[in-house]
Symmetry: C2
Subunit: 201 residues, 2 copies
């Protein structure tokens, strides 16, 4: 860390704020964003959930499709249930086997979940659509990335689409407006602590 | 990316799941975690907000203290308001000037906000406490990190404490159970898009 006096700190903060204000004044465009949360760290689904909550709080309508069981569960469900007009939650990850023998079944399930996402993207009633853990399904080739790119590219100008999951395909990152990689620095499982309500689910 | 056949994919996924289940079976300890979200990317506050929502959904009581104005705003406020028994939200970031002339005022404000956090950490009624953007205040030496470490170390065994903000001090990362660094890959401000409800606030 560079050592600075308190005065230098404050001077730097003021300059940064002024520069930030100047830059922000030039940002006039509003548009629906394609947002990707990827990386091996925690917080991909959780940060998307935070955005969903913000949108709900602004009275927007959000569609949530869950591709992997357990990524979102009872905790957020209770909160979603308090805003029935603002959230449609489709937990579609239940039936996946990730098994060679049942590959065709998994592909059918992936397609079923994706159809829900596509419907929500195409329906003007939804301001934001979250395809939670869609990247996993893409990684396993249960769905061609081209089809996802086609749907998000064709979306209406103000619609936000959030896609989460590790190993986001390069083509998706390329197409996205906002990409955050969550990097694991330290994880409690390593020291014998189990998954807990409010933290893991 | 390593090329794999679908069969290799599935085989790998099954092995990973089995290994994961085996590891999880050995994780029996439940404890309150010290969680830090840092890095220059987006999602630090949003992911913490997602954890707050999960905890609320499980009927837990959460205290939220906001150190920097605007990091959390009307979007989440509306959702918090729907669960008045579960969330106490203290937006304390309003008065900060980040100005040399008013340094003593900012220090007083930081102390006032920190006192709220300390009270929530010490009060058994709160299951989770979020000190949003506390790292900024630490970075500007408005509060000694030692005092933060002392309070989180003395907390009761089951209490979760979440601290967000870029430039988390090394000593805090050292003390934490779970640290995620949010890395910016791509940001829409760079291409002329302004902050939008549901995304930025």
């Amino acid at each position: 860390m560079i050592e600075r006096t308190p005065e230098q700190h404050s001077e730097k903060m003021k300059k940064k704020q002024a520069a930030h204000d100047k830059i922000m004044a030039t940002k006039t465009q509003e548009k629906g964003l394609l947002i990707v949360h990827t990386g091996k760290g925690k917080g991909k689904t959780t940060a998307a959930l935070g955005m969903v909550v913000r949108a709900i709080g602004h009275g927007r309508k959000v569609g949530v499709v869950q591709f992997v069981k357990g990524a979102m569960t009872t905790g957020e469900k209770t909160v979603f249930d308090a805003f029935p007009d603002n959230v449609e939650f489709k937990p579609m990850g239940e039936g996946f086997t990730w098994n060679t023998q049942d590959r065709s079944r998994d592909i059918a399930l992936a397609r079923e979940a994706w159809d829900e996402v596509k419907r929500m993207i195409a329906d003007p009633a939804y301001d934001m659509v979250l395809a939670d853990e869609l990247n996993i399904v893409l990684r396993y080739d249960y769905l061609p990335v081209e089809e996802v790119l086609e749907a998000v590219t064709a979306r209406s100008a103000m619609k936000h689409v959030l896609i989460t999951g590790r190993n986001a395909p390069d083509a998706l990152i390329e197409a996205a407006d906002l990409v955050t990689e969550m990097t694991l620095v330290k994880h409690p499982f390593r020291s014998g602590v189990k998954a807990q309500p409010g933290i893991e689910f």
